[in-house]
Amino acid sequence: MGSVSEPQSPKASPASTGGAGERAFRWLTSGAGLVVVAAVVLIGVFLIVQAVPSLIANHANFFTSAQFNTGDANNLMFGIRDLLVVTLLSSLMALAIAMPVGLGIALFLTQYTPSRLARPFAFVIGVLAAVPSIVYGLWGILVLAPVIEPFAQFLQTYLGWFFLFSPGNISPVLTGTIFTAGIILAIMILPIITATTQEVFRQTPRFQIEAAQALGATRWEVIRMAVLPYGRSGFIAASMLGLGRALGETIAILLVIRASTSPSHGSLFDGGYTFASLIASAASEFSQPLPTGAYIAAGLVLFVLTFVVNAIARVVAGGKVNG
């Protein structure tokens, strides 16, 4: 505080002349910050308040039941088991594809491409992020699903003994499964992972790279010794952001994954709903409070899930990047 450091000054100190504006600006920025916190809290409160009556009225176990019957408001039977399975399977499959590919693209862009090519290439990646999810959904079910069907068939025939590739609950249909959705989601989250990761890799300190080069490291060895250790936590944080996006993706999933009448087999060739796609599919019927509350309860679980994923990303990214 300027006024404390110059107490003898007869004139108004600089701090006090700027005081009014300074204070106003501080209130303004604090206010903006508070809005964000308030929004998160209010959404949480909304979800809990709306969900609790339905959860009390629920006749099935919310966590272990695979059914979601909200037709009869006096006999609600709903559980999130399958929603959780489908959501996690599709998102984790997306991550399993997008993480290595995103890492590869980021390394390619930062380590192997001359900078005049890297820029347009990064632009194309950015365009991927700008494609509306409805377009991904359409493309996924109309183009991608039939194209990958033989591959899905192959996996099921030869690796069917493994639960992920065993016949699903919409068998023998092999299009419009979690498998299809996982690929679509992978493409959707690829730009997020790539953009952040390549930014981190680009910031690898010059002197670290030189340390490896001077020892006679080849390009790959430089990457292994200097670039990857430096960018690892940034890459993981970027992947968590991508996972957050995949968990909440709605319309593409709704279009791609077929509904199923039987419960999940825990297979990638299952149909069904994710949290988000189930809620969206039922949105037109939100009239009675109790059945609606059931969907809101599902939304609450998704909210918590993404919250946890973001918290993990934050912890990982907050750690010393090169430590």
Binding site: P205, F207, Q208, E210, A211, A212, Q213, A214, L215, G216, A217, T218, E221, M225, A226, P229, N322, G323
Partner: protein, 258 residues
């Protein structure tokens, strides 16, 4: 081990920019040669051509010959990566790999060369750390990250890393400029020990340091900004600092530099 370096008519360019002009000098084995001169005179540039590090800057190229015991390191078929495995380098800023343990830092170069034998790696690790006067300080914490050491220790760790591969030549690019006086003294003492086994070239801004550690001194200068740097003279350190042949050198040494 300890080879001789000869530079013949070396010109260095960055794209169209002629950075260093017509350098001729020889570095005998098991001696310390220091490069001194004002900023921008090209002394670091010359140093970085000695292990082909300058090639990492796009557009950089060298004309003339740089010979290691008579063999041109820029000859066709000679590979920059292979050259760097036999010519060690220590940088201005200590740059251990921060996530690697002290032990892994020291043997990083050996591992690059495919040495996997644990016993051999441990032996070299100890010998190199002893050689770099660091063993006593770190022997109880070899598995701790190298980033946790003080600046002076980190620089000695980098020297240990560089000598672990028994390089033919050891290049040092202002190795003490980021260190306090006590650490600087430790490194200077170390250079005195290392020259019994290695050929050392050191770039320094500190003329007292050049006078203290080196056997011969090369003075580089440039006529004006934007003009190429050139070698003014190279001679025994004692002669350079007491009775240099060139007026230019005397002006620089005595601080009448203009």
């Amino acid at each position: 081990m300890a080879k001789r370096l000869d530079l013949k008519d070396v010109d260095i360019y960055y794209g169209d920019f002629h950075a260093v002009q017509d350098v001729n000098l020889s570095v005998p084995p098991r001696t310390v040669t220091s490069f001194i001169g004002p900023s921008g005179c090209g002394k670091s540039t010359v140093l970085r051509t000695l292990n082909r590090m300058h090639e990492e800057i796009p557009g950089a190229r060298v004309e003339g010959e740089i010979q290691l015991d008579g063999e041109d390191i820029y000859a066709r078929g000679s590979d920059a990566v292979a050259v760097r495995r036999t010519i060690g380098m220590v940088f201005q800023r200590p740059n251990p790999f921060p996530t690697m343990s002290i032990r892994d830092n020291v043997v990083a170069g050996l591992k690059l060369q495919g040495v996997r034998d644990k016993k051999k790696l441990d032996e070299v690790c100890e010998a190199s750390l002893r050689g770099a006067n660091l063993w006593k300080e770190v022997e109880s914490r070899l598995d701790k990250p190298g980033g946790g050491l003080s600046g002076g220790q980190q620089q000695r760790l980098c020297i240990a890393r560089a000598i672990a591969v028994q390089p033919d030549v050891l290049l040092m690019d202002e190795p003490c400029s980021a260190l306090d006086p006590i650490s600087t003294l430790a490194i200077e003492d170390l250079i005195g020990d290392l020259k019994k086994e290695y050929t050392i070239v050191i770039v320094t801004h500190n003329m007292q340091q050049a006078a203290r550690v080196s056997d011969q001194t090369a003075f580089f200068n440039l006529e004006a900004t934007g003009k190429p740097g050139h070698l003014v003279e190279i001679d025994d350190t004692e002669k350079i600092f007491s009775n240099p042949t060139e007026r230019e050198t005397e002006d620089y040494i005595s601080g009448r530099f203009g």
